[in-house]
Amino acid sequence: MGRYILMRLAGVVGVLIAVSFITFMLMKAIPSGPFDMMGVQANKAIPDQLKRQLEAKYGLDQPVFMQYLLFVRNAVKLDFGYSFYYQGQTIAQIFQNQWPYSIQLGLLTMGFSILIGMGLGILAAMKQGTFFDYLGTAISLFCLAMPSFVLALLLQIVFAIKLGWVPTGGWDSPKQWILPVLANSLGPVLVLQRYTRASMVDVMRSNYVRTAKAKGLTEQRVTFIHIFKNALTPIVTVGGPMLAGLITGSFFVESIFRIPGIGQFWVTAIQNRDYPLIMATTLAWTAIISITYLITDLVYAVIDPRVTYVKEK
């Protein structure tokens, strides 16, 4: 088991190196550097000499490959340096300040979509062919067809602007959480509803559930002891990585509802060519996602005794 986890972690490191390289090179391929963008924003071009000084300060005058090695050397120490754009702030500070918003939004979305998505999925599976089943299908179809930013805007227009029930944005009070969470949970609800229903139905048809019924167990016992645990495996497989995506923030929802989360920062970072911030965010996301894959696989082994990462004998 320990050996397996170590091997997997080594894999994660490999992925991180590859991803950092790809991102770094892509970033360097982006036309115009960070200080051009500053000039654009300040509405005046930065003098060439000053630009060169700045570039030298941040090591941007060196060959690209050297820059990359430099970056790796610092990154190993988890030192991503200062943001080019948010003057005087280290990347670590930006993460510390902004990421909690995204995490909070993600966790709320997670809770909400598990409740709704899995609830609807279980209901649909238990009451196949009834109103609940069709309701679930309708909701999942809606989630599939409705882009999250469109729903976010529509919700904002209707509930914040027209009805004025909730504020249009911000993240200070629970009232402001409602709409972003709703908009953000489109995808997760869809995936969870579909997979829960499918996997429950699958398990319900299995021979061992018939065996359980033949033993004279009550409906509830069959559902919660014999069906649910088995149905969980495929749900965890898709749900894990999807939920990881949630805590990495959402560009759309964060920007529409003016939540100062990391997703919004990343998009602005790209627009501003804020290299250190782009690199750090990308790497952090990749790490989170890779580790979630690993955790998902481990959870898998907890749920299903057939899955084992321990070498036989």
Partner: protein, 327 residues
């Protein structure tokens, strides 16, 4: 001496699908005495498994038991199983009657331990406490021939071979000493040497526990070996019913005869095997007349219009055939 245990009258089960209604069981009747073994044989799609599931009332939507009577002589007198409430039926299932299924590889819950699964009926029906249930489970596992039973309680099904899993299924089924054990193709998925072990096991246990057995199989050999009574099914009907000796040595229904002739045997090799031309009727169609009539070489005019139904032709031997019945 022949004490009646189960009497099925005119059982009808159907499945409503988009393509039409599948009439899987069309008025099956049979009787089973205490301690007896009834073999139900037939080819795939003849309704034998649906009959078994109907007796257990395990038919699920879109299927339903349309009509019939299932009189079960239980501990508290005679009850019609079809009239029991779902909760009352749960008390019967796994307790007074239990079932073994075809595929041992998928019939045990993969995420629960063997011990948990065996103890489940003991705790529910016999209201046993944990330790008592555990002790009983160990005894049961030992009885069905699982070595180191006490240690294996904590194991999961995937750690057992197919034959061993079927033994666990048997142990689970007899846990509450049921009056009736239904075995649906219990050996089909197993290799012959393992199959033989399981048949022996069921044979021994039925005497030990005083259990009557209904064994559903397509394998005439298995029936010959274990059953006292045989029902032959075709297209949802029972076409012949009788003591095993008579059915095998002097089958009367043309279908039974053809079926007997179609199996290759170890000790006699004919030049050709008997075959039946054509295919069984579609179960979505309403069958008029004898269901076997289109494929029957002895058919008479009457067969096309009138279903013969089971008629007695010898003591305890009934046969649904206009020709054979009037020989």
């Amino acid at each position: 001496m022949d004490e009646l245990l189960l009497e099925i009258n005119n059982l009808q089960t159907e499945f409503k699908l988009n393509q039409g209604t599948v009439h899987a069981v069309n008025g099956v009747s049979f009787k089973l005495n205490k301690g007896e073994v009834l073999g139900i044989v037939g080819e795939s799609g003849c309704g034998k498994s649906v009959t078994a599931l109907s007796v257990m009332r395990l038919i699920e939507a879109p299927g339903r038991i349309k009509a019939g009577e299932m009189l079960f002589h239980g501990e508290k007198g005679v009850t019609d199983l079809l009239k029991l409430s779902p909760t009352d039926m749960e008390q019967v299932r796994g307790n007074q009657m239990s079932m073994i299924f075809q595929d041992p590889m998928t019939s045990l819950n993969p995420v629960l331990t063997i011990g948990y699964q065996i103890m489940e009926p003991l705790k529910i029906h016999r209201k046993m406490a944990e330790e008592q249930a555990q002790a009983t489970a160990v005894k049961l596992l030992e009885r069905v021939g699982i070595p180191e039973a006490a240690l294996r309680l904590k194991d999961y099904p995937h750690q057992f071979s197919g034959g061993m899993r079927q033994r666990v299924m048997v142990a689970m089924a007899v846990a509450c000493s049921p009056r009736l054990l239904i075995a649906d193709e219990p050996t089909t998925a197993l290799d012959v040497t393992i199959q033989a072990q399981i048949i022996d096991l069921i044979n021994e246990l039925k005497d030990e526990f005083g259990t009557a057995v209904i064994i559903i199989t397509h394998d005439l050999g298995v029936v010959a070996e274990i059953a006292n009574q045989v029902s032959v099914m075709y297209a949802g009907y029972v076409v012949e019913n009788g003591p095993v000796q008579q059915i095998f040595e002097a089958p009367r229904h043309p279908y039974t005869k053809a079926l007997m002739g179609s199996i290759p045997r170890l000790h006699s090799w004919p030049e050709r095997l008997t075959t039946i031309e054509g295919a069984p009727p579609s179960l979505t169609d309403r069958i008029v007349g004898c269901p076997f009539q289109p494929r029957c070489q002895f058919r008479i005019e009457r067969c096309a219009s009138e279903n013969p139904g089971l008629m007695p032709i010898a003591t305890g031997h009934t046969c649904a055939c206009w020709v054979a019945g009037h020989e």
